[in-house]
């Protein structure tokens, strides 16, 4: 008799994936992953645009603030930030705020903060590279027409820089989506968390993890297809910015 490939008598039971409540859990996990990613992405781009611009500003104070933000938040594991935002930061807040967080999904808010601030530091580096690739004469021209520094950034430099950096931003947005899986460690009910929950309820870890893996693959493929369309539309002919190619 041929020996089975899998040594243990593991019974596959793929049907757990489309029976209730497990199917509902997976869908809820998917929705939570999307909500978490979108909320953290908005925070990250806002922080990234501000601090990235600050790092190119003439003021030493602004440049210093930008550098401290980027170097500190980027170089510490996201997992540690998750714990710090979820377990650590509330300790410093008044009891009333702690109560409010406990009643209003504080873990979700902490995960958005951890992801947003961490990826904001990475976005800031991309934005800085983008701004620095905009010819300096444009800034001088903008200032000499009488625009203030903020106006020159907002109306002239940033619109060009933002179009230049769409490819690296795309790359980092996908990283943010994948990194949102770390929110499982602070009990946010996102895809990976739900995968684990199905595993512990049904002992069908293999099936659950396959489902979770497929969800991420489809999400990543979908997002990158949409964003590569955007990339082609906003690309400025003849100008390409490189950088921000690394992962996670």
């Amino acid at each position: 008799m041929p020996r089975p490939f899998l040594a243990l008598a593991y019974q596959f039971q793929w049907s757990v994936l489309w029976t209730n409540p497990y199917l509902g859990w997976l869908l809820w996990g998917l929705l939570t992953t999307l909500a978490l990613t979108v909320a953290a992405w908005i925070l990250a781009t806002a922080l990234g645009a501000f601090f990235g611009a600050a790092r190119t500003a003439p003021s030493r104070l602004l440049r210093g603030a930008g550098t401290v933000y980027v170097e500190f938040f980027r170089n510490v594991p996201l997992l540690v930030w998750m714990f710090l935002w979820y377990f650590g930061v509330p300790e410093l807040l008044p009891a009333a705020v702690q109560d409010w967080l406990n009643r209003h999904h504080g873990e979700f808010i902490a995960a958005v903060a951890a992801l947003g601030v961490y990826h904001g530091a990475r976005m800031a580096e991309i934005v800085r590279a983008g701004i620095q690739s905009v010819p300096g004469t444009l800034m001088e021209a903008a200032l000499s027409t009488g625009l203030t520094l903020v106006q020159a950034y907002r109306l002239v430099v940033l619109p060009i820089a933002l179009r230049l950096i769409v490819p690296p931003i795309t790359n980092d947005s996908l990283n943010l989506l994948k990194n949102s899986s770390l929110a499982l460690t602070i009990s946010v009910a996102e895809t990976t968390f739900m995968t684990r929950q199905i595993e512990s309820y049904t002992a069908k870890g293999f099936e659950a993890i396959t489902a979770g893996t497929l969800i991420y693959l489809v999400l990543c493929l979908g997002v990158s297809t949409i964003l590569s369309r955007v990339e082609r539309r906003v690309a400025i002919p003849g100008l390409i910015v490189r950088g921000g190619g690394a992962a996670n």
Partner: protein, 236 residues
């Protein structure tokens, strides 16, 4: 609530000696995981890059599929694959260290492979032709001509990925491996001082990774200087 950083002074031995260096009753250690992952991940990454650049479809296609598959999935998922798959496939549950090591190497090699591939592609085609013209075979060409130049070109991205890898090792704590993150969690269970403890390990990770980036900048300058010197010597 007032902060009390004396918890760090009371537990620094457990946090740093046990969690970071892995010396103590629990074994473990962030470095014991990070260093082998860098070495093995780089070696597998070279294989992946050569596979992706191969003219043979049976090497190129699996390598491409591997890279695309891994890069579309979060690291936590990959860790769970091995955490669940190894016992099913072999009937033996591996210790956390080996599960984490295998998962990290498999995951990071996909990213490192893409960096190495870009580095190899940055070496001018004429170099390969010149090497072949002198009679070097494929492996000798790679070993003595292409890779030394490629490594210099890809060093900045490579070190960036190594830094990411060191940060990624914190995920081993999820399956119970006693690294720096797990050590802080363990102390926190007793002391309930999350802000102080997690801030402290954030600083330790920061020193580690920022030190790596400073080291890489120094190495880049030395390699650039070395290359210029060799060119000058060859020309004189």
């Amino acid at each position: 609530m007032t902060l009390d950083f004396s918890v760090i002074a009371d537990n620094w031995r457990f946090l740093v000696v046990q969690g970071l260096l892995g010396i103590g009753a629990f074994g473990g250690g962030t470095l014991a995981l990070a260093v082998p992952t860098i070495v093995l991940g780089f070696l597998l990454g070279v294989g992946v890059a050569l596979g992706r650049l191969s003219s043979r479809a049976w090497l190129r296609r699996p390598a491409t599929l591997y890279v695309e598959l891994i890069r579309g999935v979060p690291l936590v998922m990959v860790v769970f694959w091995f955490w669940f798959f190894i016992p099913i496939a072999t009937g033996v549950a591996l210790p956390q260290y080996w599960v984490a090591l295998v998962a990290f190497v498999v995951f990071e090699a996909a990213y490192l492979g893409e960096i190495i591939r870009a580095g190899i592609q940055s070496v001018p085609r004429g170099q390969v032709e010149a090497a072949e013209a002198t009679g070097l075979r494929y492996w000798a060409t790679m070993r003595f001509v292409i890779l030394p130049q490629a490594v210099r070109n890809m060093l900045p991205s490579l070190v960036t990925q190594f830094i990411i890898l060191v940060k990624d090792t914190s995920l081993a704590s999820i399956i119970g491996y006693m690294d720096l993150t797990k050590a802080a969690q363990t102390v926190n269970q007793r002391e309930i001082r999350p802000f102080e403890l997690y801030l402290f390990i954030a600083v330790v990770y920061w020193i580690l990774t920022y030190g790596m980036s400073l080291g890489s900048r120094a190495l880049e300058r030395r390699m650039a200087a070395g290359a210029t010197r060799r060119i000058a010597e060859a020309g004189s």
